[in-house]
Amino acid sequence: MTNLDCIFACVMSGKYLSYLPPFVFLLSLSVVLLAKDHLKKVAGYWSMNMVLLLSTPYLHSIMKCDMLWVVKTYMMYLLFAIPLLVMAPFLYKLYLFKFHKIERFTAMEGYLRKVSGSDKSRMYIIEMALPKAFTLGRDVFITAGLLELMSERELKAVIAHEAFHIKQNRFPMIYAFRLLTFIPFQFERLADSYAEKIAGKESLIRARNKISRFYSIS
C-alpha cells in the first residue's frame, strides 16, 4: 500500500467526518477556477490551502498504515517553515528600515487607501536608483528610481497593482502557502488585471514597458 492509497482508503472509510476535507477542497478549487471576482479566487485559494494544512495532522491521526514517514516528514517541515514564513515579512521590514534610507511618501497615500480599501495603508520611498515596487502587509514600498521613471498616471497603475496585493494580504499566510503546499497561484496576473480595471490598460502597459526598457528586457 502506498501513501496515496492509504490516504484514499482513510477518506473513503467515512470515519470521523473524513469526507469533509476533500469536499471543502474541491469546493474551493471550483471557486478558484470558476469565480470571476479576483478576491473570490484568492479566497478560494486560501481555503483550499487551509484545508490541506489542517487536514494533514487530522488524516495522520486516523491513518493506520506503515508508510507514514512521508506525512511525518511533511509535518516536521510545516512545523519549522510556518513560523519562519509568518515572521519573514516583519523581519524583512526591520532589515529595510535598518539598512536603507526610507521616508514616508504621503502624496499618493490617499489614492492607495482608496484603491486598496485599507485606511491604515502607508507608502514609503526607498532611496534606491533601481525601479522597484513591492508590498509588505498593508504598506507599499517604491524606490526613488521608480518614482523618477513613471509619470503620475503610470505610477497610479503601479500603485493599483500593489493595492491588489494589500487586499490579498488580508488572508493570513496567503503568500506562505506557495512554499507550504506548493500549489501554484497567479497573484501577479490577478494584480495586473485589477490594476488594468482601476488605472486603465494603457498606463499599465506603458509602465511595464518602461521597466522592461530600464532592465533591458525586450
Partner: protein
C-alpha cells in the same frame, strides 16, 4: 583585452572601472540624473543605477530629490572632491590594515619614521 590595473601608484583607485567612469562624469557634471549618465557613458540604465547606489552607500555621491514641472527627478552630486576621495581611499585602506594588523602597521610606520630621521 588587458585587464585594467586596479591600484596604480599615481592614480590610486579602489573603484571599479565603471565606478570610476561614473565618478569622473559626476565630478565634471554635478547634479546629473541616472539617464544623463547612462546616455553620456553609453552604459545601460540598470548598470548605472546599481553602481550609483553603491557609490551613494559608500559616501562618494549624494542623492537629491528635485521637482521639475511636476515631475520628480533625482540628481547625483559628488560628496568629495577628487583630492578628498583619494585621501578617503588611502585612509580606508589604512583603517582596514590597522584593524586587522595593528602591530605590524605600527611597527612599520615606526621603522619608516626612524629611517627618515637618520
Amino acid at each position: 583585452m588587458v585587464k585594467k590595473k586596479r591600484l596604480e601608484i599615481d592614480e590610486l583607485s579602489l573603484l571599479s572601472p565603471l565606478e570610476e567612469r561614473i565618478m569622473s562624469f559626476i565630478w565634471e557634471n554635478p547634479e546629473s540624473t541616472v539617464s544623463e549618465i547612462s546616455q553620456n557613458l553609453n552604459v545601460s540604465l540598470s548598470s548605472v543605477a546599481v553602481t550609483i547606489d553603491r557609490l551613494c552607500k559608500h559616501g562618494y555621491v549624494s542623492r537629491e530629490r528635485k521637482r521639475v514641472d511636476k515631475r520628480i527627478k533625482y540628481v547625483y552630486s559628488p560628496v568629495l572632491s577628487k583630492e578628498e576621495a583619494k585621501r578617503k581611499m588611502v585612509e580606508d585602506i589604512l583603517d582596514t590594515l590597522m584593524e586587522r594588523f595593528e602591530d605590524i602597521v605600527v611597527s612599520y610606520f615606526h621603522r619608516r619614521s626612524g629611517d627618515d630621521k637618520s
